[in-house]
């Protein structure tokens, strides 16, 4: 079974914001809501790094844990989705998410917070796959069309990779081996667990460790 994951290669990201634009266009995301955005660290300083950030569809998603109405669910492919018919727009998920993924439209009176909107890994929502209702609420369901998320598929430098965790990790590993640097996969450990992040193994237990 595929286990869908995102990886952003900071050695390749050129901060073009193409992924952001593609996502907004594909899903007709309203103004003020950005399911994906590019963050630049040390902007203007030599050696600055950019990373494309959206919902990472965490293995142990904190948004699912804190939602008071249990509107989140996980698909068989590990994609974290939510039901807008159940969401009450409380915003707890926004506080819990380490990536700032949950977005809230504020088009109502007095800037009232609407139902949460976030990246769906281009997998739509609980409505019928490919239906108009699904598109209007969650955007296009590309996974059900046999495609991958549009942000990754159109990335010009292939900095953003999406797909089965084994495949994307293999692609990333190959790149790192060939260029000899850039093994820091930002967000991978936070989203999918540090043991999968290419990190050194956990420190041995104190009693078994030699001085």
């Amino acid at each position: 079974m595929a286990r869908m994951k995102f990886v952003c290669d900071t050695e390749r990201c050129i901060e073009c914001n193409g992924c952001v634009t593609a996502c907004k266009n594909e899903h007709e995301v309203p103004w003020g809501v950005n399911r994906r955005r590019v963050v630049t660290l040390n902007d203007g300083v030599p050696g600055e790094k950019s990373i494309s950030v959206a919902c990472m569809h965490c293995s142990d998603a904190p948004c699912m844990a804190v939602c008071p109405v249990n509107c989140f669910y996980r698909t068989d492919e590990g994609v974290v989705l939510h039901d807008k018919n159940v969401c009450i727009g409380c915003g707890y998920c926004a506080y819990a998410c380490p990536f700032g993924a949950p977005q809230f439209p504020s088009q109502g009176a007095f800037g009232v917070r609407g139902k949460m909107d976030k990246c769906t890994f281009c997998a739509g929502g609980p409505e019928v796959n490919g239906s108009q209702a699904e598109f209007e609420k969650y955007g296009r369901n590309r996974l059900a069309e046999g495609k991958l998320p549009v942000c990754a598929e159109m990335c010009a430098t292939k900095a953003l990779i999406a797909g089965d965790g084994d495949v994307v990790a293999d692609i990333m590993r190959n790149r790192v081996l060939r260029r000899g640097k850039g093994a820091e996969v930002w967000g991978w450990g936070t989203a999918y667990g540090s043991r999968q992040a290419g990190q050194p193994p956990a420190a041995p237990a104190a009693q078994g460790a030699k001085p």
Binding site: E77, L81, P126, N129, L143, E145, G146, A152, G163
Partner: protein, 73 residues
């Protein structure tokens, strides 16, 4: 008679204190993605509804679309 009226009245009053079920009507699980959309715009090369062909299609797509080294070398 008095007792009967008392019991009826008691039941009527107490039923107001009864708790209604508050379980949320969540949608539960989504339809699986490998089921396809049954419409156009679906990529060719896999059979809608066939899980194995959907998985192999996505696996192949993530390789040839995203792995530069398979194209350059």
């Amino acid at each position: 008679m008095k007792n009967t009226l008392f019991v009826v009245a008691l039941v009527a009053v107490m039923s107001g204190c009864g708790e209604k079920p508050q379980a949320l009507q969540t949608s539960g699980r989504d339809a699986p993605a490998y089921g396809g959309t049954g419409k156009a715009f679906t990529t060719a090369g896999w059979l809608q509804g066939d899980k194995a062909s959907w998985e192999s299609q996505l696996k192949a797509r993530s390789q040839y679309g995203q792995n530069d080294y398979t194209r350059m070398n």
